[in-house]
Symmetry: C2
DNA sequence: CCTACCGATCGGTAGG
DNA sequence: CCTACCGATCGGTAGG
């Protein structure tokens, strides 16, 4: 069978593609989606520029694939753990804690990919901007749905507004990322965890908050 | 007097310098501090690249001057109005509202200069990063001092923590900027104003919040 | 996936 | 402030 004689299988290509994208997401959190250059990425991977063009036809196609890869990482490290938590209030705490863990784990050297991508691409019309915007909209929708579930279960005061709560928790997340990037360390994530609990009306264990930073 | 025969006075040079920097800050909110190129800036000003090098010896010197100029704009539009407000709680509301006005006024096309600069330069060691970091630290200190004053005046519950409150208000500000950049409009600043008031325990006038967006 | 190349643009300099 | 230039790097292509 002729189709089996190829030296590189489709699976090999897929594996290479994933390896390229993972490195590209890492570099993009340091240099931005525009600052990410094909030459730099090729050097980091020990391959040639034209090798990258064989996988992605243009820089824009690479950027779109990088956004999807970053979305997969975010889903695996932040969203999936939250969905697995107890519905309602439990998911609201879990999604924030999972985000802080995502930072502390340093999967990506420059902190949250999307926090940076929103500000970098937000003013540049095009497919890249729309892809980033759609991911952020999905995330805010998820926060709102967790908040609505918590309200249904009467785990929050009846006059709470899911839209407002989602906005504020997103703010705590962005402030935590900014602090993480500037301090170049997990210092100060304790205050983010305390802020999350205060906003949700949960007891903020002062002893635990103090140790979070040193973990 | 030989010193008076020069055709261009020092004041002329200073005026040119300010014109360069104002345009540079605007461009930097669209392309970032690294994406800001000497060639682009020279074209936008109708002058030559070497004309810019006469004012700033290197790109890093230009970036540092741009940060100072952006700091001046932020002080004039956000910090000074807040300091002029009634001490304590009044200043906390005023600084957030002044920030939202700063966005709505569209002084800078890409939203808040520092929100972007923190994420772009936070992972690039050097003088530029330190300058941006110092400005953000000063701003957080200002928020903390307003919060401490409000506590002293018993305008906030006695168990409030100025550090925590400053962190959360900074988060609301960052979330408002992200929403502004993505929506490319002032839509949605109403929820930021409502969030500010809710956090500070103030009555959030629903009618007023609804009209804020349409103003 | 490679080498070898394209025109455009980058930050920066020489000399005026 | 200008023209004219430098080497390096940009995104992308030809041809294999």
């Amino acid at each position: 069978m002729a189709t089996n004689r190829q030296r590189k299988t489709r699976a090999d290509g897929e594996r290479t593609r994933r390896a390229i994208l993972h490195e590209a997401v890492r570099l993009a959190t340091l240099d931005g989606l525009e600052g990410l250059s094909i030459g730099n990425l090729a050097d980091a991977l020990g391959m040639s520029k034209s090798g990258l063009y064989a996988h992605f036809g243009s820089k824009e196609e690479l950027q779109l694939a990088v956004i999807d890869e970053a979305g997969g990482i975010f889903r695996a490290e932040v969203i999936d753990p939250a969905i697995a938590a107890p519905p309602g209030l439990g998911q609201l705490v879990a999604v924030c804690d999972a985000f802080f863990d995502h930072l502390k784990r340093r999967t990506l050297p420059g902190g949250c990919f999307f926090a940076g991508a929103i500000l970098e691409m937000g003013t540049r019309p095009g497919r890249v901007r729309e892809r980033v915007s759609a991911f952020q909209a999905d995330f805010l929708r998820l926060l709102r749905s967790f908040a609505a579930a918590a309200l249904d279960r009467e785990e929050l005061p009846a006059d709470e507004d899911p839209e407002l709560l989602a906005f504020e928790l997103n703010g705590i997340i962005l402030a935590a990322n900014a602090r993480f990037v500037l301090s170049d360390g997990a210092d100060g994530l304790g205050v983010a965890r305390t802020a999350t609990r205060r906003r949700l009306g949960l007891a903020s264990d002062a002893r635990a908050a103090a140790t979070w930073d040193s973990v």
